[in-house]
Subunit: 203 residues, 2 copies
DNA sequence: CATCGTAAAACGAATGTTCTTGCGCGTGGG
DNA sequence: CCCACGCGCAAGAACATTCGTTTTACGATG
């Protein structure tokens, strides 16, 4: 017989995860101690350990959430009746990502990608979500090809992987080198894609 | 009066840095303990601390070195009489990077980029080198434009930043998702750039 | 009354760093 | 030329913290 409502339990989980998010974004996974999370959550050690078995569970949950944010943004664009022009797609995605948080997009992402290399549990929890991202971008490529604004000879899956890589590097540069780098990349992408191979000109 | 030759001292530094490189590549910066480095170097704690003030000095030195590797590869290409065709440039760079180490290129890079966000000393040590990389790529863009294989309207600096982002994401995906991802990106880049805006068709 | 949460203490393990010790070689007095 | 001295180098035990986690006892609450 539960003594508190299920919503209360879920709210506590969120409270803890939100606190962990703040701490991880501020100091990184490794330089964040569990007492840091306790303090940020305003909870005691016992309370946190009642909801999560340990620090690694917090990390994997946060890592998976951070990647899923991008999937949801892509889904929102896919649900819309039509996509922005190709040269505006990535800039819009970056703007949406920035709107989620602070001044730079996805501040958790670089350390997630770094951690994937050495922590199989994080890799397992995140790899599927990265595949989802690629799949959404491939679908967008197909739509562009159907609309005649992208060369039909391009493989959507391969092209999507290139876009994933570009997004990853974009996020890294925005987070490490600041807004100026972001604006340069925006200009560069617009310049490249407004001259990009389209069905109409290369079909 | 030094009791050992200067070459001996420099050899010891290299010995320690090489050991740190192996440890950091294997377990990451944070999951590598100083005793790990001692063991890998075959030296004692006192010996290592005689040559480096602490762990952070090792990290920054390794981080800077790892980024400079890419600069040197780019310089090698710039010294050559002519560049490969644009669609082969990035694949060749990735091959050169892979030749330096194991099965994936620049295994240190993702954690360096992640660490830049939170450690100002690493950011300071690496930002300049990243700027060097961008500058080399911009020079390559200018050469391509002069050769008429890249649209002259593109800003070399902005385009170079896009290439940096693409390389960063490429390295991440190769390291985290394996060789299959690399091959997909290679195919995607070739597909995009063989249809890329060139002076001859858009001039 | 069972449960949830708190506060605090304690846990062993592991961390980065320092300290003390002694080995070994270059050097200066014989 | 030889030998013992002395110093730089390295070793590795020992340092104080800090870590993640568990446990304790106690109060609040449904």
């Amino acid at each position: 017989m539960p003594k508190v409502s299920e919503e209360h339990r879920e709210a506590r989980r969120r409270q803890i995860l939100d606190a962990a998010w703040v701490c991880f974004a501020r100091n990184g996974f490794h330089k964040t101690s569990m007492p840091d999370v306790f303090a940020e959550a305003g909870l005691s050690a016992g309370a946190v350990y009642r909801y999560f078995p340990g620090k690694e569970a917090l990390i994997t949950a946060i890592a998976e959430t951070s990647m899923r944010q991008l999937v949801e943004i892509l889904d929102a664009h896919l649900r819309a009746p039509d996509l922005p022009p190709p040269e505006e797609l990535l800039p819009e995605l970056m703007e949406d990502l920035t709107a989620l948080g602070g001044s730079a997009p996805a501040p958790m992402a670089p350390q997630v990608w770094s951690e994937m290399m050495r922590d199989p549990r994080i890799a397992g929890a995140v790899a599927g979500t990265l595949g989802d991202i690629q799949q959404r971008l491939a679908e967008m490529c197909r739509r562009y090809q159907a609309a005649g604004v992208l060369a039909p000879g391009l493989d959507p899956g391969d092209t999507a992987r290139v876009l994933v890589a570009l997004i990853q590097g974009w996020i890294i540069q925005w987070n490490t080198m600041g807004l100026a780098a972001h604006q340069q990349i925006t200009a560069g992408v617009r310049g490249l894609l407004t001259r990009a191979p389209r069905s109409a000109t290369h079909g």
